[in-house]
Symmetry: C2
Subunit: 328 residues, 2 copies
DNA sequence: TTGTACGCGTTATCAT
DNA sequence: ATGATAACGCGTACAA
C-alpha cells in the first residue's frame, strides 16, 4: 500500500504539503496541488483509515444496534440509515441483539469503541443503562424515548389513534387491542393512547396480551378474542397475519363479522384476502433521520431532542362498520 | 479515556509490561499481571481500536456487501454472519448496493479500506471486477462462483432439480420456469439444470423471463403463463406469491389446474392458501460459513475453494399430479 | 506557500 | 521478567 510519504516523495514535496493538497486544497499552490494529486492517482493512494482515525479521533463509522433483522420492519430502517451514512462518507457498523438485554449491552459497548457514535433501537433494555451509555458516547435512540436523550421515533401512537377514531366513526363500540411484547416502550405508548380514546368515546377497549409479535401468537389471539368484539387492532403485521388466519379458521369473516387493522404496514398486508387496513410508518426515513441526528451530534449541533415522524392510516377492505349498527 | 500509559503508571510498570499483561499474560509475572489488570479495571481501560489497528494491521471488522435488505433472504444471512463474527471478536461493516454495479464497486472498495476482508453477495457485477478485487484484499463470494475464488453457495440448483424430479414423477410433462433477474448467476445455474432435467425426461420446459423478482412481476407472469403448462417453478418467493394471486385472478386453481413451487422458502409460503411447495435454503448457515471462510483466509488457512450448502424441497399442497394424467 | 517535528495509542524488537 | 524505544501513517502546530 502506498503511504502519504510515498506520494510526497513522488511529488517532490513534504508529507505535510501532500496531506494538505489532499485534505485542504485551498492551502496549497495550484501547481503543487496538481503534482500531488497526480502522484496520488498514479500510486493508487488511499489514506490509511486506522492512522487517520488515530490522529483525528474519528473513525467515520456509525454503530447501529437492532434487536433483529427477521422482522421486516428493520430492513428499510437499515437501508435508510445506510443511504444517509453514505452521503456523509460514513459506514454502518451493525449488530443484532436478538432482544437480549445482556447481549445488547455488550454489543453496544464494543461497537462504541470502534464507532464515532451509536444508534440503538432497543425496545428492551433499561432507561438507566441507556442514560449511562449516552454519557459515555454520542447516542441516538430509535422508537424509544428516555428523558431528554436524542431520539427519533415513528409516531405510531398518534396514527393508531386515528385508526381507532376511524373505527369509532364506523360505529364500533367494542374493540380489542392485541398488544405486543411485554415491556415494549412502543406498545406501552399505543395501549395508553387507545385506552384514552376509548374512554373519551365511551367505547369498550379490551387489551389482549402481552404477546410475542409472531404469526403463531396471532393465531392464538384469534382464539382468545372475545366473541362480542367487533374490531381488532394488532401491535404489528405478524400478529395481524396470524389473526387473519385464526379468524378464518374460526369462521369469523373479515370484515363482516369483525374488522381488523394493524399498527404497522408490511407490504404483504396489501396482498392478503382481504387487504388489511394498516398504519403506514415511514421506517426508512426514521433510519435516515437517526443517522442525520447522530452526525449533527458529532458536529456539536444539538438541535431537537426527540424527532417525531408521523405515520398515517391506510384504509383497506378489512375494516367496515359493524354488522348490527349502521354508520352513525 | 484512559490509555495504556495511564494503566502502566497506575500499576507502576512500563507501557510494554502493561500491554503484555493484557495481551500475553503468560509472559508476565503473576503479581504484576494482577496489578495491571486491577489498574485497568479501575480506570475502565479499553484499548484504542484505531491505535491497535495501526500497529497490528487488523481492524477486527468484516465487510459485508449485499444487494438489498428488503428481500427477506438477506436478513438471516446477515444474522448468521453477525453471530459468527461475534464469536471471533469481529464486527460487521455492512453496505447495501441496491443491485447497482457502480455503487457496489464503490462501496466495496471503500469498505475494504476499513475492514480486514470482504464478503460480497453480488448477483450482478462482472467476473473480472471480482477477480481484480480479490487480488487486492481477502474476499469471499456468496451465491456466486468465479473461477477459483473462495465462495460459499447455497446449492439451490440441485435442490431445484429434485423439485423438478418430483414434478416429473407426478407426471408433469409441460413445465414452466419463471426466471429471475437478467444476468443473475444463480438464475443461470437454475435454468441450466432445469433444461438438462427436462431433456432427460423428454418433458417440455418453457422459460419465462428474465423478470425482476417481485410480487408484481409474478402477477404479470401468471398472465403470460401458457395455458397448457401443468406446473410452474419460480425463481423466488416473491414471484411465487405474485403467481399465486395472478393465477387465482385468472381462475386457474392451484394445484388442480396448475402446480406451483418456489426456489426458495420465505416463511410466508407456508401460510398461503394453499401452502406452497418450496426449497428450504440454509441461508443463515451460508452467512455464518462465509464469515468463517473469511477468517480462515485472514489466518492464512486456505482450505476449500467453494463451499456448497445443500438445500432440499419442502413438499406442500401446491403441487399435485396434473389433472389429465394419473401418477405414472 | 511550504517544511520540520511532534503526537495520537498501541504492539514489537531488542536490550537488560 | 521487564523496560526503553522504535515503528505504524496521518494531521497539524509552528517556523520559515
Amino acid at each position: 500500500m502506498a503511504t502519504l510519504m510515498d506520494v510526497a516523495r513522488a511529488a517532490g514535496v513534504s508529507k505535510a504539503t501532500a496531506s494538505r493538497a489532499l485534505q485542504r486544497p485551498e492551502l496549497v499552490a495550484e501547481a503543487t496541488r496538481l503534482r500531488v494529486l497526480d502522484a496520488a492517482q498514479r500510486l493508487g493512494f488511499h489514506p490509511n483509515a486506522a492512522a487517520r482515525a488515530l490522529t483525528t479521533g474519528r473513525t467515520g463509522l456509525v454503530g447501529l444496534v437492532v434487536p433483529t433483522l427477521s422482522n421486516p420492519f428493520f430492513a428499510p430502517l437499515v437501508m435508510g440509515a445506510q443511504q444517509t451514512a453514505e452521503k456523509t462518507d460514513h459506514h454502518l457498523l451493525i449488530a443484532v441483539s436478538e432482544y437480549d438485554p445482556t447481549r445488547e449491552a455488550e454489543l453496544a459497548d464494543r461497537l462504541a469503541e470502534q464507532a464515532d457514535g451509536l444508534i440503538m433501537v432497543t425496545p428492551v433494555g433499561t432507561d438507566t443503562a441507556l442514560r449511562e451509555r449516552a454519557r459515555r458516547f454520542p447516542l441516538v435512540l430509535v422508537d424509544r424515548q428516555v428523558g431528554r436523550l436524542p431520539a427519533v421515533v415513528a409516531d405510531t401512537a398518534t396514527g393508531l389513534a386515528q385508526l381507532m377514531d376511524h373505527l369509532l366513526d364506523q360505529g364500533h363500540r367494542d374493540i380489542a387491542y392485541v398488544s405486543g411484547p411485554a415491556g415494549s416502550w412502543a406498545d406501552g405508548q399505543r395501549s395508553a393512547i387507545l385506552t384514552e380514546r376509548a374512554e373519551q368515546a365511551k367505547a369498550r377497549l379490551r387489551v389482549l396480551g402481552p404477546l410475542p409479535p409472531t404469526f403463531d401468537a396471532g393465531i392464538e389471539a384469534a382464539r382468545a378474542l372475545p366473541r362480542d368484539a367487533t374490531a381488532v387492532l394488532a401491535y404489528n403485521s405478524y400478529l395481524t397475519l396470524g389473526l387473519l388466519h385464526g379468524l378464518a379458521a374460526a369462521n369469523r369473516r373479515v370484515p363482516e363479522d369483525v374488522s381488523l387493522a394493524a399498527a404497522d404496514d408490511l407490504s404483504s398486508l396489501r396482498s392478503t384476502t382481504p387487504p388489511v387496513t394498516a398504519l403506514d410508518v415511514p421506517v426508512e426515513e426514521v433510519g435516515a433521520l437517526a443517522v442525520t441526528r447522530l452526525i449533527d451530534l458529532l458536529a456539536g449541533r444539538h438541535v431537537t431532542v426527540t424527532s417525531r415522524l408521523p405515520s398515517r392510516p391506510v384504509l383497506r377492505a378489512s375494516t367496515a362498520p359493524p354488522a348490527a349498527s349502521a354508520h352513525r
